[in-house]
Amino acid sequence: MTIALQMKQITKKFAGVTALDHVSLSVKEGEIHALCGENGAGKSTLMKVLSGLYPFGTYEGDIYIRENKQCFRSIKDAEHAGIAIIYQELALVKQMTLAENLFIGNERAKSGIIDTTQSYHEAQKWLSTVGLGKLHPEQTVEDLGIGEQQLVEIAKALAKDASILILDEPTAALTEKESRILLNILGQLKKRGVSSIYISHKLSEVTSIADTVTVLRDGKTVTTCPIAHTTEPEIIHHMVGRELDQRFPKIKIPAQDVVLKIRHLSVWRQKKQLLHDLSFQVHHGEILGIAGLMGSGRSELALHLFGAHNGKQTGQVLFNGQVVQFKHPAEAIRAGLALVTEDRKKTGLILNQSILKNLSLAHLAHLAKWQWVDENREIQESYSFIEKLKIKSRTFEDPVATLSGGNQQKVVLGKWMMTQPQVLILDEPTRGVDVGAKYELYQQMNQLVKEGIAIIMISSELPEIIGMSDRIMVMAEGRKMAEFETDEATPERIMQAATGGKVS
């Protein structure tokens, strides 16, 4: 078989952080090549390099397609070379017809006027290729299910003469039946010589469909081998196989009273059930780690507890023995909850405002007399957190946008520490944070736990979960899959529970 694609020694850095470190990937013609790794291992970054989203020159290394060197300056360039990426979030225009969607940016037209007959004719052909022959090209996309939409995306890619498809978690939102159809179609495309790069956390799918698997970890290639020569546990081992070293300054303090107790909690957003019958509790002075893969419902749980969700709920949340259901984050904050969200830039910080204003934001009413902000107190209190957290900046009037990721995260943490919470929920607290700042954040967590604060730490980094938690809960698809004491937890067991396997 000929080599369809080769990526050689790709290195990509973001503001000093190495996301990809001499990664190589080679895909044969008509092959399904699985790409596995934990969240943040570098899979998406690698695919963004390949699809031209990160243009040539912003990374080191070479890309070859059928032995021709490529310099993609844009997604369009990559498409011309036959590479098509199918995102998790579908990029279809819901109000437009199937035919219109298939040829978006690639319209079948004569001197600028759409040739409708030609469009419909070709659309029908591509739809049959992906097993949607029963649909009419004139239908609008909004009438289709998610699975069918996913297939339309593939048809759209094929209509652009794509010979290499990149599928990023294509089955994440699909039902079992839809997944089978999709995998089946990929198998048929393979016979036509189309190569697929298949990114998935569902290892059972990977082992059943892929020919070859490449595992990434911490931005490096760990292994590439034919699927026949490996097993699911072995892949897991490669994904997580890291020594747990002295990076985690964990302290343990004796168990105290329960502060938060969740009983049979189920939550819906509109018709969709996000959380299924969750029960767990958190004690004062402990860190409960929540592990799971993307889309496992962990962030939704955090937002729901914090009153930011307002979905339908069954079951109970008890806070210090009282049944609570917060309707607005303001209520949750008043009761003593704090939430450091997953994406500090999108939901944590007011980027154009100063460090000072960001720190005091959630606590402002307490720093004011008759609505008049006491700026002396504001500065005093904020300054104590700047010192405590060692936030590095020229002055605290600098906009937070100018800070490094680690310092930004410290500002978010400081903001919530200022509200003196009893329960602090941390969603991916060290994502995009350099090693030094990570260590400082862990020390801060220890300090908080010593003060009797309960911490719920959501993290996709297994070493961090194992290194810092007292207990670990594993979630998948909105359900609690397992709960471990830290000393019985291993990366393999957590990964197995998170990928939906039985816990051994």
Partner: protein, 376 residues
Amino acid sequence: MISNRFKLDLRAYSMITAIIVIWTLFAILDPNFLTIRNLSNLLVQMSVTSILAIGMVLIIVTGNIDLSVGSLVGLTGGIAAILQVWYGWHTIPVILLTLLIGAMIGFIQGWWIAYRAVPAFIVTLGGMLIFRGVLTGITKSQTIAPLDESFKLIGQGYLIPIFGYFIAALASILILLIMIKRRKNRIRYAFTSTSQSMTYLIWFLICISIFAFVFFINQYQGVPIPFMAVIFLACIFTFIAKKTVFGRQVYAIGGNPEAAFLSGIPIKKRILTVFILGNTLAAIAGLILTARVNAATVSAGTMYELDAIAACVIGGTSLMGGVGTITGAIIGALVMASLDNGMSLMNIDSFWQLIVKGSILILAVWFDIYSQRKTA
């Protein structure tokens, strides 16, 4: 790295430069422009737009817009005139009821926007049509005039010269106290701060400017009352914007609504309040306009919303929300009013005035984007 404070100053300086350029140009082209009489007129002319712009800044900062304030100026002015001319009400109750109506309309519009999630553009576009319609209906398309002397004072009156000096002195003392307090705080928290003598020098220069302004304006008739209202409102609203919990939360909402929500800020309440404030200010502007022209007409206030928005934008308010100052908007209003006034003096056709104002608006925003990209 340039701090935020300095960047704002840079913008303020460039706008003041723009005003000086515009004034010099008009002064050369028409000797009447720089007379005290004309400058006094200019201050009166800018007052309505300025007051609308003060409210508009807060609305735009939350990421919304208010297209209805022009019609609202007409409607509230019309109501005030009807109460006084047709029903013989005294001036004080007329003012109070008009302000109350402005606040109520703000409540209704704000409620649709915040609690019913109808985009502000649509609600206030609807409001723009509705209020103009109501005005035409209740006035039966007539011009309502004349108003009482006491009412006319709001738009045409002047402070007696002595009183002007008194207020200047009061302002000087207040500024001194604020400057000393700020300096103390900045030293206490180890900020860079100007030296003591420098502080007094700056204060002295500010005092001189204030007194010089009052002295010159007193050569004509004194400080115009509508301009006094602008200064007074600008101070109050700058204080609200910068020093109160409410103001800080308004800017946070505009800067990042999601982060603001997750920090426990009641976004809907804040947006509702911002519209109540903005529309109450529109009622004040309506009173001043009616008093100034001594009549309420069906077309009063037409297109004023666009002047107000333009003043904000020229003054550095971002339509994306989160950024904008009241001082900037007032200077923006002064730019617009200067252009109107100067070109009218020179008898330039009104179509040219529109063309020039439109072009200045685009250029100002382009310059802003351009200079930001350069410093970034």
